[in-house]
Structures are given as structure tokens and as C-alpha cells.
């Protein structure tokens, strides 16, 4: 799996992501600076990592979404290439129009930095084929703006097309509608062709038993398996 991790000023989770990719795929990810206009030839997976690009100025992800490299990401995605957008990356993907909706300030104004439970909504995607639909995983979140909002029509469409990837839930899989204010407890969504996944939680931080739970591993294993198939 040839992965490219995008780096913007103010991004700070790119090394966690690169480490997880190396650990699970065995291959070093390319780190791509935002002023580049091309992805490395043969890139299978583009990762937009977490952090605080441009200090969250204007709106979270708004300035990074207009960086030169994003044109190349759009081209990659249009051809069906895989894109994983985590946390600030999810905000950037929404601002860039790769995914619908927007992530607003958490409803209770709190920065949520904790481990959460996510319910896996479907297992027939390149990102989640290693999980069982309906199962619950534990992963950390760290965000102040993860409150997913879209107009009623977009939400109906996402639900109708089964494009919700993960929902905030309790340990036994009961959806938690009050976690951060997200509509329908949405923690992550897929693009129409299921080749882009955006999510607020950090699966890359739960991949190594040294750290604790390893529930995030299967996401990366799913990608490796998809690309090997």
C-alpha cells in the first residue's frame, strides 16, 4: 500500500498516522507538503491527518482545503482513489467539498479529549471490511469542533445511501445522540463511491498494544487487504 500523508502548517498528528501506516502496511508513507501540486506516482491512499491547520483560523480546515495539493487529491478521489480524512482532515475534506456537511463547535462548547465507543455501521467498504457491522470499537477523540451538521436533505441522503460509517455509541452499541451535538450521532461518513472516509476519532492512535487497545488496527488492515485484492 502506497500511502501519502498530507502536511499543512499547524498539522500535528501526521507522525502518529505515518507510524500506524508503517506498522500495519510495512511501508513508509510519503509525507507531502501542502504546496506540492502532484501526489507521488502510484499513490493508493491519501491521508489527511489531524491537527490544527493554520491555527483553525477562519473556520477549521478552511484554508488548508484551498491548498495547491488539494487539487491533486480531488483528481485522485475522482478516479476512485482512496482518501482517509481524520479529525482536522475530516474538517478539511468537508471544506474542500470532498464530503458533504460541516463540523461545527461541539454543542456543549467543550474540547472532547477522551476514549469513545463507535458503532460500525457497515462492513462492506474498503475502510471497514475487517469489522463486523453493528460491532463497537474503542478509539480516542480530541476535538473542539466535531459537531457534524448538514441540511436535512443531505442527512436524509447520507442515511438513505448508508453512508454513515461510525456513530458515537455506548459500550453496548446504543447510539449516543448527545456526545458532541453531531446530527444522528455521526462520527464519520463515506463519500458516494465509498472511496473517501472522513471521521473525527483517531483510529491511528489505537494500533499498538504498547499503548493499549488496538481497535483502530482493522481499519488500516482493511485498506491493505482492499489494495491487495
Amino acid at each position: 500500500m502506497k500511502a501519502a500523508v498530507l502536511v499543512f502548517p499547524g498539522i500535528n498528528r501526521e507522525h502518529d498516522m505515518a507510524r500506524a501506516l508503517k506498522l500495519i502496511s510495512g511501508k513508509e508513507a510519503a509525507m507531502i507538503w501542502h504546496t506540492e501540486t502532484e501526489l507521488p506516482a502510484g499513490t493508493d491512499l491519501v491521508v489527511i491527518p489531524g491537527g490544527f491547520s493554520y491555527g483553525d483560523y477562519l473556520r477549521c480546515g478552511a484554508i488548508a482545503a484551498r491548498a495547491p495539493i488539494m487539487q491533486a487529491v480531488r483528481k485522485h478521489a475522482d478516479k476512485g482513489g482512496l482518501v482517509l480524512a481524520v479529525c482536522n482532515g475530516f474538517q478539511i475534506a468537508c471544506e474542500a467539498g470532498l464530503l458533504p456537511g460541516v463540523l461545527m463547535r461541539n454543542a456543549k462548547m467543550k474540547f472532547m479529549c477522551k476514549e469513545v465507543h463507535l458503532r460500525i455501521e457497515r462492513s462492506d467498504t474498503p475502510f471497514t471490511r475487517g469489522y463486523n457491522a453493528g460491532s463497537v470499537i474503542r478509539v480516542p477523540v480530541a476535538h473542539g469542533e466535531g459537531n457534524y451538521i448538514a441540511d436535512a436533505e443531505t442527512i436524509a441522503r447520507l442515511e438513505g445511501e448508508n453512508r454513515v460509517a461510525f456513530r458515537y455509541a455506548s459500550a453496548d452499541g446504543k447510539v449516543d445522540p448527545h456526545f458532541n451535538g453531531s446530527m444522528n450521532a455521526i462520527a464519520g461518513i463515506f463519500s458516494e463511491k465509498l472511496n473517501i472516509l472522513g471521521l473525527m476519532p483517531h483510529p491511528e492512535n489505537h494500533v499498538d498494544p504498547v499503548v493499549g487497545p488496538t481497535d483502530g488496527r482493522r481499519l488500516f488492515e482493511s485498506l491493505v487487504e482492499t489494495l491487495a485484492a
Binding site: L58, R59, R66, V102, M104, A107, K108, N147, D151, G181
Partner: protein, 79 residues
């Protein structure tokens, strides 16, 4: 030419920051505040003297970057 772009949240979009400000005003004893919605004002200097052209440029700026039209409205004022 001086201009302003004013960006506000669309009606119906929840504004947690506005809510927090509203309750802070209430606890400060500022009476009669019924609700607060937070927005942004951009003060922009535009080259040239053609108002229509400036307005078109600023609309482009607002559409491309200054506002997110999923949740926000904007208006342009040439001063």
C-alpha cells in the same frame, strides 16, 4: 476602496458560541438581551474605483473562502 464582507450563520444553525456569549451577558447583568448569534466581519481594501467590479470580486472571495455556504450567509458592503 474600503469594503466589508459580513458573514452570519444561517437561521436554524445552532450557534454554541453565541449561546455562551448570551449567557455571559446575562450573568454580567446586561438586561434585555434576548439572543446572540456570532458572526464575522472582514474589512477589505479593494484596488480600483469601480464599485460593481469590487462587489463582484468580494462576492467571489466570500464564495471561495470567507464563508461556508452550507451554514453561513454573507453580504458585501462597499463603504
Amino acid at each position: 476602496m474600503k469594503a466589508r464582507v459580513i458573514v452570519t450563520l444561517k437561521t436554524g444553525v445552532l450557534d454554541p458560541q453565541g449561546k455562551a456569549i448570551e449567557s455571559a451577558l446575562k450573568s454580567l447583568g446586561v438586561e434585555g438581551v434576548e439572543s446572540v448569534r456570532q458572526g464575522k466581519i472582514f474589512e477589505i481594501e479593494v484596488a480600483g474605483a469601480d464599485r460593481a467590479k469590487a462587489e463582484a470580486k468580494l462576492k467571489e472571495a466570500a464564495d471561495k473562502l470567507l464563508s461556508n455556504t452550507v451554514i453561513e450567509n454573507y453580504r458585501v458592503e462597499i463603504l
